[in-house]
């Protein structure tokens, strides 16, 4: 072991001695990251302890901002909206993305081109897409209600209805991000071994059994990665909601991020907004850790 590694280890040790030289490569980026990422984190925590409005002198209030948030009906409701939106915007793309991945995993003519078309929404500028959906949602002239009437369904108010606004926004989110789930799962499918399928087929397993008992368990780690990413992105969704419904009608689709935006840039109440950021980030971190914990558990189960 040692005899084998020693010739290669000599230059590596040389590398190790030159670590200080390599640190220099990182410093400029560390400076930028410190200025635009780490400084805002710390400054946010600091601001959250102040009653601070832009243009007025801040004064220290300790944990008051947090205490007031805990009883702020509108903020608490926005947490509810966020969870509702996130749940739908994670589960639906996961299901549809997995189905799409199973389809694109097979060989068929024009597969590459069709996959490229399918993934187009993912990169499109969210604001541009949101504006087009706004026009499509229009209750009178929108094309969606026309399509409903073609198949004989009654028209919907879409984002103008307090009950349908969040599902409608989820529809845009599903359209936008199902391709990402599809590509992640497709990566998982490409890495599958063929032996379990061959032996299961010899045992007379049906296609459904192959999917249920071999494919899904094997791609579970990829599904969880997709779920983590989708959760982080859905909970932070802003552009589409802001452009399409502005959190309305009323506050029916006001998520934490929308509430945050209004506090900061409509009321310039940056102290309160900073407290919202801290709570918001804690929620995101907790959800991500929870999902990663699930991932560990599945890994144990698989092992």
């Amino acid at each position: 072991m040692t005899a084998e590694t020693s010739p290669a280890a000599a230059p590596s040790a040389f590398f190790a001695r030159r670590r200080r030289n390599y640190r220099r490569f990182v410093f400029p980026a560390l400076f930028v990251v410190g200025a635009v990422i780490i400084f805002p984190w710390l400054f946010t925590v600091w601001m959250s302890a102040f009653d601070w409005k832009i243009g007025e002198a801040p004064h220290f209030v300790g944990f008051d901002n947090y205490v007031r948030l805990a009883t702020n009906q509108r903020f608490l409701e926005s947490i509810g909206h966020t969870f509702y939106f996130t749940l739908l915007a994670v589960v639906l793309p996961l299901v549809l993305g997995t189905i799409a991945a199973l389809i694109f995993h097979r060989e068929f003519p024009f597969r590459g081109a069709l996959r490229a078309v399918f993934t187009m929404p993912m990169m499109a500028t969210p604001v541009a897409v949101a504006l087009v959906w706004t026009m499509m949602f229009h209750p009178q002239q929108g094309v969606l209600n026309y399509l409903l009437s073609v198949v004989g369904l009654p028209p919907s108010l879409w984002v103008y209805s307090p009950t349908f606004v969040i599902p409608s926004l989820v529809l845009v989110e599903v359209w936008h991000w199902t391709p990402l789930v599809m590509l992640i799962v497709l990566g998982g499918l490409a890495a599958l071994p063929t032996e379990p399928y061959e032996s299961a087929r010899l045992d007379g397993a049906t296609e459904w059994q192959l999917l249920r008992f071999i494919t899904l368990p094997l791609i579970a780690p990829f599904l969880i990665v997709a779920a983590v990413i989708r959760t982080i992105d859905a909970i932070k969704a802003f552009d589409t909601i802001y452009v399409i419904s502005q959190g309305g009608p009323g506050t029916a689709s006001e998520t934490i991020n929308l509430y945050l935006y209004l506090q900061a840039f409509a009321f310039y109440n940056v102290g309160n907004a900073s407290a919202v950021v801290v709570v918001f980030f804690t929620i995101i971190l907790a959800l991500a850790l929870l999902l990663l914990h699930v991932r560990q558990r599945t890994r144990w189960a698989a092992g």
Binding site: F14, N21, L114, M122, T125, A237, L260, S274
Partner: protein, 296 residues
């Protein structure tokens, strides 16, 4: 299916004659079902873009017609002309090029060496920092930076926008480059090291030329994410310094409610991104999963 056919062929030729068309039919139905599912899954993606294109090529009367007019007849470029002449789309386009280009350039200058350093130092904790940055809502960078820019009198300037967009571009470039440099064989650098090259020489003349494909991917991803960002421009920019997404939202939705120009502007924003995407089909996932801070 074909195996079953040959077995039958040996045993009972008459039966085969009857079952072969039925098997072919079944296969045909299955194939039809498969293609149907392909159509169902792909069509929403393409139809929204086609509808966007259709809206942008029709006059206002057709755009507001019910039932909707799907195919522009005759197609008109009037909407595009209007957004460039009356809504100064050209200026906003240029602002976006400056902001995204500037932020991407700075990110490359600091991020490519940093990626190299992280790869050689095996400093994986720094990439964890990037993952945490990925989880943080973009608005939470905006509030402190806005407050500081207010203090410095930098609000409404392109400089403030370029600085803020570094939040998006630096992590993605560092992440992509660290990953890329890790895949490069160390042997070449070790050889150069023995020949007496300094760390900088190794980077500049050995690693950097090899990393060109990684740099291309990092550049395109950073540029796209920066280009697509809406909220930084919406908050920090003044009337004349808006980036394209902020301008499309502000100018066109508040000052006039016309669908044709709106769709034309939406296409002007999105088209560069869709074109750039073609070059990095395979790397998009890496970019979207791990890399940049995006959205709100």
């Amino acid at each position: 299916m074909s195996q079953a056919g040959t077995v039958h062929a040996g045993v009972a030729p008459r039966q085969r004659l009857r079952s072969a068309p039925r098997a072919r039919l079944r296969r045909g139905v299955r194939r039809l079902g498969f293609w149907l599912s392909v159509v169902v899954i792909v069509s929403p993606a393409i139809l929204v873009f086609l509808w966007m294109l259709s809206l942008s090529l029709k006059n206002e009367i057709d755009n507001l017609a019910y039932p909707p007019v799907f195919v522009p007849d005759p197609p008109t470029l009037k909407n595009y002309v209007q957004v460039f002449t009356e809504n100064s789309m050209g200026l906003y386009f240029w602002n976006s090029v400056v902001v995204s280009g500037g932020a991407t350039l700075i990110a490359l200058l600091v991020g490519v060496p940093a990626g190299y350093g992280i790869a050689r130092l095996q400093a994986h904790r720094l990439t964890v920092l990037i993952l945490i940055a990925r989880m943080t809502p973009a608005l939470s960078y905006l509030i402190p930076l806005f407050t500081v820019f207010q203090f410095l009198g930098l609000n409404n300037t392109l400089t403030a926008l370029v600085i803020t967009h570094l939040v998006i571009t630096v992590p993605i470039v560092v992440y992509i480059m660290a990953g890329y440099f890790e895949t490069l064989p160390k042997e070449l650098e070790e050889a150069a090291l023995i020949d007496g090259g300094s760390a900088w020489t190794l980077f500049r003349y050995v690693a950097l030329p090899l990393a060109r494909p990684g740099i291309v991917v990092g550049t395109i991803l950073a540029f796209i994410f920066s280009w697509n960002n809406f909220v930084f421009g919406a908050v920090l920019a003044g009337r004349a310094t808006r980036t394209l997404p902020a301008a499309v939202y502000n100018v066109l939705t508040f000052e006039q409610l016309a669908w044709g120009p709106l769709a034309a502007a939406a296409i002007v924003v999105t088209l560069p991104v869709l074109v750039l995407t073609i070059f990095i089909q395979k790397e998009i996932v890496a970019g979207l999963t791990a890399g940049g801070v995006k959205g709100g």
